[in-house]
Structures are given as structure tokens and as C-alpha cells.
């Protein structure tokens, strides 16, 4: 054990403080702001707004599936457009943007003890390009022919053909342009997140003293920087195929008795590129969630995180492994059996570091002083949901099981559990946790309880039956299922039940939005550190933190982020910037 207690042993700063840009007008302070905190709120608000669009789209889909034939305006074309836009918005424009652009921007500088991101101007640009990407995406709803209905994977050749909604209209073009813009904007932000963690940490903040939230966001950003180019390449090449008549992905095709000018292209090539991005994307969303949930559990169970080192290694390991599993999304496209074997094996191996993380969360809870606050409830719900969704992932990772299940509702249930519901639960938990720091006020507890229980139980009532529907063979991507033999009356009732649950869960989200807005003015005063947490963002002089984050002097870090319930200490938490050692020895985690 190393003890260097006196505070006067602080060496002088080796690195000069960064020059901050100081805004001069209302515009540069709140609109074209270079302050990461403002950018974070802009990112979050935009992502939430477009997320609400995706929520409404999911209601429309459930209307059709639960009560087929009742709503005339939901044509099969419209249904495909709803599916496509719902998927794309949720995965990219909501989850990725919110975790990295929202939480990344707010938390990284505060948690590592920096005044701001290292390239504030580029950071601002990142948000505005993201907003442009969202606007282009939204504009496709108003374009002739409507948005694309190609499915969120945009597989060619169907994505750019006449039969697909938006295929020969503006829909697919706007979608591709929007994605390209998103990737450019994200790269600008991503450079900031990575380099800030590398270069702007305050004194004493070694990598192994970083909160796991930062580790999660950092690793996810590195992955995203390496994975998004694959989507970029796929989008550019598809745009060429669609607009300039090249044949990267388009094979020779006869469409309505007419030979198209394309020939010889390979749709499988697109699938490789798409999933080379698409699978890391799952972990780009999951790793920040892992990190945040570790911090929530540790703080609200008043206990140090179990196995911090192992948690860091697992995050890095998952990040690396996730680049060699992409083809498990392509089992049904057909591949050499040895390839299938290889990808099934790597897929199952990822379960090892993931399981380590789950065990560590559970062991952190073990004999902890658990406070069932709303963030904690969401964190616990995440663990359960992630385990559930992960287990069906083990089913689908095997080729022989995946092939018959691949086109059924089982897959829909699986990926909604593991990458829809689970990360969203963490986002909610994180918002309840950090809202007091952002606004200075607590969110309303009663509304929070309502929101949590309806969302958590409702999500289970939606997606658990869906597994069953998949196992009996209900196909996904079908706009209407009434005339099928497998569509028994009980299956139909189950579908209606799922739809009603979906409306209720959606309603709970509106209550949550109301809570967010109402509490800005009417919430209980939070004070600087309502959860009695150790990390640096709770130690700022002012709440909400002002421009520059930390007043005159940057904090100096003397300990790791998880000194909770240290024996011999006065309180049950010791902030990272408090010098001195307390107690004798702690249980090595």
C-alpha cells in the first residue's frame, strides 16, 4: 500500500492550462456554443426529439400488427417506411448520438477534470453537422415518395429498386446522405472524446483511476471511429449505384420485364461492409451503458466496484473482439461452413468478458448498502434485461439455431432486449442520476417511480411474448400476418396484447418528458452532490457547473473513483480530490 498523504507534496503543473474560448454574446453562449456542456444538451435534446419520432413510428407499426386491417392509412409501403426509419433512428440518431454526443460531451471533461474538450470548435461543428444529418433524415418524410422502406439494414439490390418505397425516389438518397453527414459529424466529435481522455486529464488522474463511465465511452468512441468508416464506404458506394448507375452492389437485374443497366455487382459485399460497422455498433451502444451502470451501482450501493481492473480489461477485450464477429449477422446469406464455425466461436467467446462484467455487478451489490433510488432501479433492471437479451444471443450465435430463427420475431425480441431496452434503461438511469448536476434540481420521485415500473414491466410484457411468437414461426418484416396458418387466434391475441403494452410504455415516456421539463423549475433543490458520489463532476464549485467547469484551480486526484464505505473514514464516501488515506486496508477487489 502506498501512502503519500500530505497535500503539500503536490508537484507543480507540468502542462499549462488550456486556453478557453470565452463567449461574448447570447448566440455564442447558448446556440453556437463551444462549451461541451451546452453541446451535450444540444445533442441530447436533438436525439430525444428525433427519438420521439421513432417512438411514434413504433406505435404505428404496433397498430398495424396488433389490429391488422383496421387502419387504412397504414399501407404495406408505409409499414416498411415505419420499420426502416424506426430502426435507423433508434440505433444511430438516438442511441449513438445520446451516449457519445450527449453523455460523452457532458461527462468526459467533468469526470477527467478538464476545463473543456480539447478542440472545442470542432466539437461545436460536430453538433451542427449532426443536426444537419437529422434534418436531412426528417426531410425524407416530406420528400416525394416518402422515406426509404428498405429496412434499417438497407440491403441492396432491393433498397434502390422500384418496388421498395423510396427506392427510386428521394427516400434512399436522403437516407444515405444523412448517414454520410452523421459519420462526418461523429468523427469530429469522436476525435475530441478520445484526445480529451488522452491529453486533458487533471493531475493524478491516471487511466486506472478513471471512472468506468469514461472507460466505456472512451473505448466505444475508439471503436466507433474505426467502425463508422465501413458504413461510410457502404453508403458512398450505394449512392454511386443509385445515382450514377455503377454496379458495386447491383447484380444484373430484370425489373418489371426491363433489364436494368447494372450488372455483376455483389449484394454480399454490401452486407460485409454494413455488418463490419453494424456489429461493433452494438457494442458502441453497449459499452457506455456498461460503464455508466457500473458507476450507478457502485454509488447507489455505497460500495466500491468489484474487480475494477477486470472491468477495464473486459471493456477493452469486448471492444477488440467485436470486430471479428460481424458475419454472424449473415448466416442466412450463405457462407463456407468453416466461416460459420469461426464466427459462431468468436460470437460465443464475447460472452466471456460480458459475463465477467455481469458477475462483477452482482458481486458489487452483494452485501452493499443498496439504496433503491430511481437510478439504481434502472441499473438493476438493466442487469436483468441484459442477461435475458444476452442469453438469446447465445441461441442466435449458433448457425444451426440462427438459420430457422433468423427471419422470425424471435430475433426482433432478442435485439430489442439486448440493444434496445437494455441501453435505454441505462440512459434513463443516467438521466435520473446526472439531471441534478445539469439543472441543479432533482427529478420528481413519484413520476420517476411510475416511469420506471411501467417502462420496465411493460418492456418485458412486450418482448417476452414476442420470443414465443418467434418460436412458433411468426415472421418478421411482414406488414400483415392474418392469412397465415401459424397465425392462430391465440397468437393474434398475443399480438394485440403486445401492441396495447407498447402504447402504455410509450405513454410512460411522455410522463418522463413532462418530468424532465417540469422539474427544471419545480424540482427539489439538489445541492452539489445529492448522491454523495466520489467522482469529480460532483465536486464542482457550482451546480450546474459554469464555463470552465472547476472554478479557479483544477482539482487534483488522489484516489480512484470508488472509495465508498471505507472503514475508518468519517463519511461513507471519499471524493477523488480529497487527499489523505483513511483506515488501514481495504478488501482488494
Amino acid at each position: 500500500m502506498v501512502d503519500i498523504t500530505p497535500a503539500d507534496a503536490v508537484p507543480p503543473a507540468e502542462v499549462g492550462e488550456m486556453e478557453l474560448y470565452h463567449p461574448h454574446s447570447w448566440w455564442t453562449k447558448y446556440v453556437f456554443s463551444q462549451d461541451a456542456k451546452v453541446i451535450a444538451i444540444q445533442y441530447s435534446a436533438t436525439a430525444t426529439a428525433i427519438g420521439m419520432v421513432a417512438l411514434v413510428l413504433s406505435w404505428l407499426m404496433r397498430l398495424q400488427l396488433g389490429f391488422p386491417g383496421t387502419f387504412d392509412f397504414i399501407t404495406p409501403e408505409a409499414y416498411y417506411q415505419f420499420i426502416t426509419m424506426h430502426g435507423m433512428i433508434m440505433v444511430i440518431y438516438l442511441l449513438t448520438a445520446l451516449f457519445l454526443g450527449g453523455f460523452g460531451n457532458y461527462l468526459i471533461p467533468l469526470m477527467v477534470g478538464a476545463r473543456d474538450m480539447v478542440f472545442p470548435y470542432v466539437n461545436m461543428l460536430s453538433y451542427w453537422i449532426y443536426l444537419l444529418a437529422v434534418l436531412v433524415l426528417v426531410s425524407s418524410f416530406f420528400a416525394p415518395g416518402g422515406p426509404t422502406g428498405a429496412g434499417w439494414t438497407l440491403y441492396p439490390p432491393q433498397a434502390i429498386m422500384t418496388g421498395t418505397p423510396g427506392g427510386q425516389d428521394w427516400g434512399i438518397i436522403l437516407m444515405l446522405v444523412s448517414l454520410i453527414l452523421f459519420i462526418i459529424g461523429f468523427t469530429m466529435g469522436g476525435l475530441n472524446y478520445v484526445v480529451t481522455v488522452l491529453q486533458a486529464r487533471t493531475r493524478g488522474m491516471t487511466l486506472m483511476r478513471l471512472p468506468l463511465t469514461v472507460w466505456g465511452i472512451f473505448t466505444a468512441t475508439v471503436m466507433a471511429l474505426l467502425a463508422f468508416p465501413a458504413l461510410f464506404v457502404a453508403c458512398v458506394m450505394m449512392l454511386f449505384d443509385r445515382a450514377l448507375g455503377t454496379s458495386f452492389f447491383m447484380p444484373a437485374i430484370v425489373e418489371m420485364g426491363e433489364q436494368l443497366q447494372h450488372s455483376g455487382g455483389s449484394p454480399i459485399l454490401f452486407q460485409h461492409l454494413f455488418w463490419f460497422f453494424g456489429h461493433p455498433e452494438v457494442y458502441i451502444v453497449a459499452l457506455p451503458a456498461f460503464g455508466i451502470v457500473s458507476d450507478l451501482i457502485s454509488t447507489h450501493a455505497r460500495k466500491n466496484i468489484f474487480g475494477y481492473r477486470m472491468m477495464v480489461w473486459a471493456i477493452v477485450g469486448i471492444g477488440a473482439l467485436s470486430f471479428v464477429v460481424w458475419a454472424h449477422h449473415m448466416y442466412v446469406s450463405g457462407m463456407h461452413p468453416y466461416f460459420g464455425f469461426f464466427f459462431a466461436t468468436t460470437t460465443l467467446i464475447i460472452a466471456v468478458p460480458t459475463a465477467i462484467k455481469v458477475y462483477n455487478w452482482v458481486l458489487t451489490l452483494w452485501r452493499g448498502d443498496i439504496h433503491l433510488t430511481i437510478p439504481m432501479l434502472f441499473a438493476l433492471a438493466f442487469i436483468v434485461t441484459f442477461v435475458n437479451g444476452g442469453l438469446t444471443g447465445l441461441f442466435l450465435g449458433n448457425v444451426v439455431v440462427d438459420v430457422p430463427l433468423s427471419d422470425t420475431m424471435f430475433v426482433v425480441a432478442h435485439f430489442h432486449m439486448v440493444m434496445g431496452v437494455a441501453p435505454i434503461l441505462v440512459i434513463f438511469g443516467a438521466i435520473y442520476h446526472w439531471y441534478p448536476k445539469v439543472t441543479g434540481r432533482m427529478l420528481n420521485e413519484t413520476l420517476g417511480q411510475f416511469h420506471f415500473w411501467v417502462t420496465f414491466l411493460g418492456a418485458y410484457l412486450i418482448f417476452f411474448p414476442m420470443h414465443y411468437l418467434g418460436l412458433v414461426g411468426l415472421p418478421r418484416r411482414y406488414a400483415e400476418l392474418t392469412d397465415m396458418t401459424i397465425m392462430t387466434e391465440s397468437a393474434h391475441h398475443l399480438n394485440s396484447f403486445i401492441s396495447i403494452m407498447a402504447f402504455m410504455v410509450g405513454f410512460a415516456q411522455i410522463v418522463f418528458l413532462f418530468n424532465l421539463i417540469w422539474s427544471i423549475r419545480h424540482g427539489r433543490e439538489a445541492g452539489g452532490n445529492p448522491w454523495r458520489a466520489t467522482t469529480l463532476e460532483w465536486q464542482t464549485a457550482e451546480t450546474p457547473p459554469t464555463h470552465g467547469n472547476f472554478g479557479k484551480d483544477l482539482p487534483i486526484v488522489y484516489r480512484w473513483a470508488y472509495d465508498y464505505s471505507v472503514p475508518g473514514a468519517k463519511e461513507d464516501f471519499i471524493p477523488q480530490n480529497v487527499p489523505g488515506s483513511f483506515g488501514t486496508s481495504k478488501e482488494p477487489a
Binding site: 502506498v2 508537484p11 476525435l191 491529453q199 468508416p229 450514377l244 458495386f248 466500491n304 488522489y558
Partner: protein, 234 residues
């Protein structure tokens, strides 16, 4: 997808090497005080902007590795007809090498504080780079007048796509070079000017390397090279 996997292996190797210097085996829960604050480990002595550019170049490298992967996969299909590369590309390559050399001279000169040489180097680099871009456009025209149109064969499509993407990156670099050059005349602070020039040189060398790689790829040497490697392995 082998090219991108090899590229990522290099990136992962670098990250692993870096991580291995970050005391990942330390036990942070036992270390209180400033003990963990080893200056050398805390952050790199390199300027932040250089690290930022380095990370960006890794992303750009990833992008071109993916294009290369797609190129090889598409090439394996039956309708591929390689196109004859215009001789002009050799001249363009030479011009791009020249601009890289000019920037390197500017870097050396700025370390010695010779402002006149710095200005000369920057302007030469700017002009040669513009000449390279014009040369690429002329090469495009030559090909299209000879009937090698964008959509007539996948080899042509890839040629226009990859050279175009490379050209766009050069164009973006010219914005940075333009600002640095303006700074060399308007009396920017010496250390700031030096950083700007070093960043430009780094970017130019990288894009030159990318150009040589894609030149080899488009000329078909890369495929031959990989064939030889494959035969050696089997």
C-alpha cells in the same frame, strides 16, 4: 475483408503497446495520494493537436483500407476488366512527392527559424498540390474521352471513386495549408506557425503514402503482390 483486418490488427497492436505502458496491472484501490501521478505516464509530451491529427489519420487509413477491401472483393467477380492507367499518373505522383518534400523543407526551415525558406516551402507545396489535383482531373478526362466511363465497368467505378476520395482529402488539407501559409505572412507566433507546418507535413506525408498505396492497387501490383504472398503461404 482481409485488408481491413490487417489494418485493424496494426491499430490494435499499437493500442495494445500503448495500453501496456499505462500500468493496467496497477491496483488503484490500494494507491492513494499522488503516487500514481508519474508525469511520463500521464499524458504524451506530444502536442495535443498532433495526437488529434494522428487519431484522425488512423480513421482516414481505415477508410482507405475498407475501400481496398471492397476493391479486392469486387475484383474477384467475373465482369472485372482492368483499365489502363494514364501515364499522366506517374507525373502526378512525382508532383505530389515534390509537395511533400517542400513541406518537409519548410519543417526543417521553421526549426532553424528561416522564415523566407518557410514561406518558399509552403508556397511550393501549395502550388504543387494544386498541380496534382489538376493533373488528376486531366487524367479523369483522358480516361473518359477514351471511353472508360464511370459506370461501364466496376474497375472504372473504383478508379474514379478512390482517386476522388483521395482528392477530396487533399482538398481538405489545402484549407489547413492555406491558413498556415497565411499565418506565415501575417506574423503568427513562431511556435504556433511551427506546429501548423508540422501538422501539414504530417498530413501530406500520410496522404502521399495513401496515394502510393492506391496507385499500386489501381495499377494491379497490389493484387500481384498478394498473389505471391498467398502462393508463398500455400
Amino acid at each position: 475483408m482481409s485488408v481491413i483486418l490487417v489494418f485493424l490488427l496494426v491499430v490494435v497492436g499499437f493500442i495494445g503497446w500503448w495500453l501496456s505502458h499505462q500500468r493496467l496491472m496497477s491496483k488503484p484501490w490500494l494507491e492513494q495520494g499522488m503516487a500514481g501521478d508519474f508525469v511520463a505516464l500521464d499524458r504524451s509530451a506530444l502536442p495535443t493537436a498532433k495526437i488529434g491529427l494522428g487519431v484522425f489519420l488512423a480513421v482516414v487509413g481505415c477508410l482507405f483500407a475498407l475501400f481496398t477491401s471492397a476493391y479486392f472483393m469486387r475484383m474477384a467477380l467475373s465482369d472485372w476488366q482492368p483499365l489502363p492507367l494514364p501515364r499522366l499518373l506517374w507525373l502526378n505522383t512525382g508532383v505530389l512527392v515534390l509537395s511533400s518534400v517542400a513541406l518537409q523543407c519548410a519543417v526543417v526551415a521553421t526549426r532553424r527559424g528561416q522564415l523566407e525558406t518557410v514561406r518558399l516551402g509552403l508556397v511550393t507545396a501549395g502550388i504543387t498540390t494544386l498541380a496534382f489535383l489538376v493533373g488528376q482531373l486531366v487524367a479523369w478526362r483522358e480516361l473518359s474521352t477514351d471511353g472508360y466511363l464511370l459506370s461501364s465497368n466496376p474497375a472504372n467505378s473504383f478508379f474514379y471513386l478512390i482517386t476522388g476520395m483521395h482528392g477530396l482529402h487533399i482538398l481538405g488539407g489545402l484549407v489547413g495549408l492555406g491558413r498556415t501559409t497565411a499565418g506565415a505572412w501575417n506574423g503568427a507566433r513562431p511556435e504556433r506557425l511551427r506546429l501548423g507546418i508540422e501538422l501539414c507535413a504530417m498530413y501530406w506525408h500520410f496522404l502521399l503514402f495513401v496515394w502510393l498505396a492506391i496507385f499500386a492497387l489501381l495499377a494491379g501490383w497490389a493484387a500481384t503482390f498478394i498473389d505471391i504472398c498467398r502462393q508463398l503461404l500455400t
